[in-house]
């Protein structure tokens, strides 16, 4: 097997290992701040996976929206709602064993189905830049969901502002 087939596989293996390790830190860490930073790392690795699959615009969008937007808000809320230096008590509730078993069952079911149906499909195309195609798609065939999503964002904005207002102080 030559270098051109080996290199994507090695890169994918490294990224997949890192992603699974970071995801495990997210769900098992005692400090919620560390979980958030691990989640940020995991989102960055997912952006790398998108770039590996040739989706360059979506990868940059993932970094911009998730890492540069959502995770910053989440870190803000964590920093504003924790007693900063409290070394935390345990973070898992009483039903963690059943949760783990259910998650294991779902994962195994999915993996078995995917191996059965989608084995052996390879990609042979050269990656092309996708920005123009995505622009044409969003404003062409997908224009109705595009406008609907902008209304959803407006509703989310109004909702967030409303919940964030503090009614105890005079405005």
């Amino acid at each position: 097997m030559n270098l051109e087939q080996l290199l994507p596989t090695v890169v994918f293996a490294l990224m997949a290992g890192l992603l699974i390790a970071l995801a495990l830190v997210v769900v098992t860490s005692r400090s919620v701040f560390r979980s958030a930073i691990a989640l940020t790392g995991a989102l960055g690795v997912v952006a790398g996976l998108f770039a590996l699959m040739g989706a360059d615009f979506v990868a940059a969008g993932q970094l911009l929206i998730y890492v540069g937007g959502i995770m910053i808000i989440m870190l803000f809320v964590i920093m504003l709602s924790q007693r900063p230096m409290a070394k935390a008590d345990r973070q898992t509730n009483d039903q963690w064993l059943w949760g783990a078993l259910f998650a294991l069952a779902v994962t195994c079911g999915l993996i078995v189905q995917f191996r059965a149906v989608y084995r052996g499909i390879f990609s042979t195309t050269v990656s092309m830049p996708t920005t123009v195609s995505i622009g044409r798609l969003l404003l062409g065939d997908m224009v109705v969901p595009f406008e609907a999503v902008s209304l959803v964002l407006l509703a989310a904005l109004v909702g967030a502002v409303y919940f964030g207002l503090d009614y105890e102080k005079p405005q």
């Binding site: 989102l43 949760g99 798609l137 909702g159």
Partner: protein
């Protein structure tokens, strides 16, 4: 072992499972929200992988993934402002304290 579709699908299945475990077993509301974000990302990996391997000439999967990202952002924002409102009221972010409507 050339890179194939089912490698990416297995990765996203494992990520989805880890997210489910996080949602079902974390006490901290913020931990639950973070596990939901993991599940969203697993779905996004699936969408982009199907687009890349089965339909390389079109970008429907990537467009759909952008919508998923946007809606995840909207949901995270509303969820986090709710968490702030809850924290202001009961001074805690653990789920077992949220039982005022219980019984």
């Amino acid at each position: 072992m050339t890179l194939s579709l089912h490698h990416f699908l297995m990765l996203s299945a494992i990520l989805f499972g880890i997210g489910i475990y996080g949602v079902l077993s974390r006490r901290n509301i913020l931990g639950i929200l973070m596990s939901i974000e993991l599940m969203f990302n697993a779905a996004n990996i699936n969408l982009i992988a199907f687009n890349h391997f089965l339909y390389p000439n079109q970008v429907w999967g990537q467009g759909f993934a952008i919508f998923v990202m946007t809606l995840a952002a909207a949901e995270a924002v509303v969820g986090l402002s709710l968490v702030l409102a809850i924290y202001r009221n009961i001074k805690s972010v653990y789920t077992e304290k949220l039982n005022i409507l219980h019984g």
